[in-house]
């Protein structure tokens, strides 16, 4: 019947129009990020019963749907987070690697130059020119450490800025998502059929952006309102209520900023290490990798300062004074206090400091000292191992880690805790403190001369110097060693001091023995070691060793000792030299950086795969759309032809009845 033919034609026309509109929409949005292609679904209209059979009545567009696979979309989200995290980490570690390789190299060079200059003084200790070169090199060395420390500070600042920026972005996205959720809810409420496709697309786009910054999980309810959770399940958008992310200063270290979730009534702290995405990468880099490298460089600065200051103090300078510190003392009050960080949550009023006693034992880890019901326990934050230090109030506590914990004033409340960073600030505060080139203590204070009449294979050597000036005053000292009776294997020795008083014989047990001189009750000013079997021949002919004042402008013994520290194992339990220590730190950063690169490449590949899978369903293919356009154009033309035919039929009928 012609009437229904019109209807059919028009329905076809309208359907084709909607199809073309949708295709046009797809083509226009081919480059829109996150766009899911839409398709108009046509359905046949119900057939009309005209008595004997059903005649079809055309078509209608039932729905314009997004071609959206939520599973491949979620897969893309997960991979996007991973990619965000590994890319960010790769970038940061690459920067750190560059800094360590180049600035670290500069420090190695400065150390080398310093020791070169030191060897010059060891050869010619009275030359003031050579000495000032040494002082110049110490200046360069300390400023290199300070510069590297400044680099680390800058990186930390920029990461903190990045974290703040990301937090702001996340908060903005959260607000947007809440608004869209509201719109979707309202659009559903108006009982319009169909999906608000473009709103859904916009929401998905925002979530994709969010997934780069953190891990995202979404749950959609029956009204189409989406609840968004980040990290390990922290709700960011609860339906139409947005929460925001805030960054606040860390406690006790203000530079270790913390993430907080801000709700309408309360705020909650979030553990940054579980957030995923760029946020987790930044926090991991700042709190783990950067801090480790910084701690290693600080420890190296501390080791160099302590070793050289120590050796200086054992010798005499050009003016026969005890050698003063070349670098800032590692136990100044400022440094000691800076190693203890008290969180504001502590209710007691204890102020404490940390004194370094043995640089070779100091590790790079952070420690926590806690007052557990009146007893201090110290926990290594990296390994978790803890040790009991003793009851509070004892003043000074030694630890097996080369440092002492000292209560300066006040008392802690129960459960108060303190963060201990033994190496804190060592590089930042490293300064050259010696300015007079005559102050380099090249000369030793005393030396041992064996008598020409000694016949046995025994030796006495100076192994430690406590007070060179006092040692000079205690000179001369003579040590006579004798095996008595001869061949018995039992040795004894006597000391003759500078007043000519000879002590009673004391026992020497081979193969070696360390003696403090002068002997008790006087305060020891230095230490010697008897080694070997100095038997002597008879009670009248013991082995004799004369210890005398050795100071002289041409004495370079202490300068040689200082030069030898270049090849001595000092850090890490006495196993690594300075350059080895630095090389190890640089290698560790290099290997972290190169594995981060591999991880980033893998993450990129995985993301590309997930993206491709998603695009398979949702992506716009221009060729396909072009073919569709032709298809719908033809359909339109055909449908309009139907109308034209219907018109002709009607005209024919009209002509017939005229």
């Amino acid at each position: 019947m012609t009437v229904s033919l019109y209807q059919t034609g028009v329905s076809g026309l309208l359907a084709a129009q909607q199809q073309l509109a949708t295709t046009g929409h797809n083509i226009a949005n081919v480059n829109t990020e996150g766009y899911t292609r839409q398709r108009a679904e046509q359905n046949t209209s119900l057939g009309l019963n005209n008595g004997s059979n059903y005649t079809g009545s055309g078509t209608y567009v039932q729905d314009i749907t997004r071609l959206y696979d939520q599973f491949s979309y979620k897969e893309q989200l997960i991979n996007q987070s991973n990619l965000g995290k590994s890319d960010a980490l790769d970038g940061h570690l690459n920067q750190l690697n560059d800094i360590m390789s180049f600035s670290g190299q500069a420090i190695m060079n400065s150390v080398g130059q310093f020791y070169q200059a030191m060897n010059g003084v060891a050869d010619n200790p009275s030359d003031l020119g050579l000495r000032s070169i040494v002082l110049n090199q110490t200046e360069i060395l300390s400023s290199d450490f300070r510069a590297l420390n400044q680099n680390f500070d800058d990186i930390e600042k920029s990461i903190n800025g990045e974290i703040e920026q990301v937090a702001r972005e996340i908060s903005d996205i959260s607000l947007e998502l809440a608004k869209i959720n509201e719109s979707i809810l309202h659009s559903k409420n108006l009982t319009l059929s169909g999906q608000p496709n473009d709103l859904l697309d916009k929401r998905d786009q925002l979530i994709t952006q969010l997934s780069q910054y953190t891990k995202v999980n979404t749950v959609e309810d029956s009204n189409g309102v989406m609840t968004v959770m980040i990290g390990q399940g922290t709700t960011l958008v609860a339906g139409i209520t947005p929460l925001t992310i805030n960054v606040e200063s860390g406690d006790p270290d203000p530079l270790k900023t913390q993430i907080r979730l801000v709700g309408p009534n309360s705020t909650v702290a979030i553990n940054g290490n579980t957030l995923g995405g760029v946020l987790e990468a930044s926090i991991e880099f700042r709190d783990e990798h950067l801090m480790q490298v910084r701690s290693e460089i600080n420890r190296l600065a501390m080791a160099i300062s302590a070793t050289l200051n120590d050796t200086q103090s054992k010798g005499l300078d050009l003016n026969a004074q005890q050698g003063a510190n070349v670098f800032t003392d590692i136990n100044t009050t400022q440094l000691q206090q800076g190693r203890v960080l008290s969180p504001t949550s502590n209710s007691g009023n204890l102020s404490a400091q940390v004194n370094i006693t043995d640089v070779s034992l100091v590790p790079i880890d952070e420690f926590e000292i806690r007052n557990n019901a009146g007893v201090y326990t110290i926990t290594n934050m990296t390994t978790g191992a803890n040790t009991n230090l003793g009851a509070i109030g004892a003043g000074t506590y030694t630890t097996p880690f080369g440092f002492e914990f000292i209560e300066t004033s006040g008392t802690p409340a129960n459960d108060d805790s303190f963060i201990i960073r033994p190496t804190e600030n060592s590089a930042a505060l490293m300064q050259r403190t010696l300015s007079n080139s005559a102050g380099i203590a090249a000369s030793t204070a005393v030396e041992v001369t064996p008598s020409d009449n000694n016949i046995s294979a025994g030796e006495i050597a100076i192994v430690d110097m406590f007070n060179p000036i006092q040692a000079q005053l205690d000179m001369p000292i003579r040590i006579d060693v004798l095996e008595s009776p001869s061949g018995s294997g039992s040795f004894n020795y006597t000391l003759t001091d500078n007043l000519g008083v000879t002590s009673a014989p004391m026992v020497y047990t081979p193969p070696s023995q360390v003696i403090n001189l002068p002997a008790l009750p006087a305060t020891a000013s230095f230490q010697v070691e008897i080694s070997g079997n100095p038997s002597g021949s008879a009670p009248h002919a013991p082995e004799q060793f004369f210890i005398g004042d050795a100071f002289g402008l041409g004495n370079s013994g202490n300068a040689v000792a200082m030069a030898l520290t270049q090849e001595q194992g000092i850090t890490n339990g006495g196993k690594e030299t300075f350059s080895q220590s630095l090389a190890v730190s640089t290698s560790v950063v290099g290997s972290k950086s190169s594995s981060a690169k591999l991880v980033a490449e893998t993450a990129q590949a995985l993301f590309t795969q997930a993206f491709n899978r998603n695009q398979e369903t949702s992506g716009v293919n221009l060729d396909e759309e072009a073919a569709n356009m032709l298809k719908f154009q033809q359909a339109y033309q055909a449908s309009s032809q139907i109308i034209s035919i219907a018109n002709t039929l009607f005209d024919t009928i009209l002509a017939a009845v005229r």
Partner: protein
């Protein structure tokens, strides 16, 4: 599998970007000539590389020290060679002066020549190096080691400090010799005692007086000086400083070894009654002391008061001059030994340096052939990707509508 337009462009852009990064990296390596620029390039080998560089720096340090050690020891060797010459001359002069036909004036002239040799020797002992420090003063390098007193003796003002330089990981070499060791500790040719003849009519002289057993040598019970007194040709009594008798024999024969208190003495010649001399402990005699004695001997002239004593003293001094010459020679040999050590360490370091440099180069340096090939390859890949992209982008149905 359906490919969306966005996916197509995304993938292509990614691949182009990756290939460009590759090319860029290759350029970086080629330009620097190094395969390992930062620790990231080869984290595993970086540690070894750092170790090689460290060892090479150390070798440089040792070579610098070796240089200095060589200079200083060479200077000493040359100085001692000169002193050997001076001592030779002195000995000749002294031998010449033992000629009975020489007059007082001749002897005085010879003594004058000897004095010149003495100041020559003193000059050498007071040598300064290129920085103006005295090389024989031990640690007191700004103090002149020897000064000549008006009476012709020389006093040592330095100390006994020996400087050392590190020339290998566990090897040090001394860079100076002390003045007291070099010039004052010349061995006494007699042994451990010198003689002082109180009365000598028979021309006996002490050949050897040595402490053979230090254990038995008790200086507290029987302190020196030891006095030898011949009451007859066979009767000898030795007393210590307290007057106690330490040795007594009535059957003394010429050339017999007299042993007491761990000391052995040998006297040459046949003693006559009344001969009396003291033994004073003196293990080392300063070379300047010997030269002073020689000059004084020559200045006595051709008519000495006691010709027998004069002739015995001549023998003593001549032997001691010989000891002095030997000592100078030995010191020169000392310097030579150190120079040998310096030489052998130097060649060790050269060998090590060769091996370390090649090790370092194996890790760090770029294999240019391989690198250029890789670079070409990256370049070609990039070009291919770019060109294929251009081709494919033109394929669109819209071009044909």
């Amino acid at each position: 599998m359906r490919v969306s337009t966005a996916q197509f462009y995304f993938q292509n852009a990614q691949q182009l970007s990756n290939l460009q990064t590759d090319v860029n990296d290759q350029v970086k390596y080629l330009a620097s000539g190094k395969r390992v620029l930062t620790a990231k390039d080869d984290a595993v080998s970086y540690g070894t590389l750092a170790g090689y560089k460290d060892a090479l720096t150390n070798i440089e340090k040792y070579q610098r020290n070796l240089n200095q050690a060589e200079n200083r020891n060479s200077l000493q060797e040359v100085s001692f060679a000169s002193t050997e010459d001076v001592m030779q001359q002195l000995k000749q002069l002294f031998i010449q002066s033992n000629n009975g036909t020489l007059s007082d004036i001749d002897l005085k002239a010879l003594a004058k020549l000897a004095e010149n040799s003495q100041s020559e020797l003193l000059d050498i002992a007071n040598t300064r190096d290129e920085t103006g420090s005295y090389i024989f003063s031990g640690f007191q390098v700004d103090v002149q080691p020897f000064s000549l007193q008006p009476d012709g003796s020389a006093i040592y003002h330095g100390d006994n400090g020996v400087r050392e330089l590190q020339i290998a990981k566990n090897v040090s070499v001394a860079t100076n010799q002390t003045g007291d060791n070099a010039f004052e500790k010349v061995a006494n040719h007699k042994g451990d005692f010198s003689t002082n003849y109180n009365a000598n009519t028979s021309e006996i002289s002490v050949n050897r007086a040595v402490i053979v057993d230090r254990g038995a040598y008790d200086m507290t019970t029987n302190p020196p000086d030891y006095n030898f007194n011949f009451t007859s040709t066979t009767d000898l009594t030795v007393t210590d400083n307290n007057g106690a008798v330490v040795f007594n024999t009535s059957t003394y024969t010429a050339g017999q070894t007299v042993a007491f208190n761990g000391v052995e003495v040998q006297i040459s010649g046949n003693p006559l009654p009344g001969d009396d001399f003291d033994l004073t402990p003196e293990q080392n005699i300063s070379i300047f002391e010997t030269i002073k004695k020689a000059i004084d001997w020559m200045n006595i002239g051709s008519n000495p008061v006691d010709p027998i004593q004069h002739s015995i003293e001549y023998n003593d001094i001549l032997k001691q001059l010989g000891e002095g010459l030997n000592h100078m020679n030995a010191r020169r040999v000392d310097a030579g030994i150190r120079l040998n050590l310096v030489d052998s360490q130097e060649s060790n370091h050269l060998d090590a340096e060769l091996h370390l440099t090649s090790g370092r180069s194996n890790i760090e340096d770029l294999d240019f052939a391989k690198a250029v090939a890789t670079f070409e390859q990256s370049q070609v890949s990039l070009q291919a990707a770019q060109q294929s992209f251009v081709q494919i982008k033109n394929l669109s149905l819209f071009n044909y509508l």
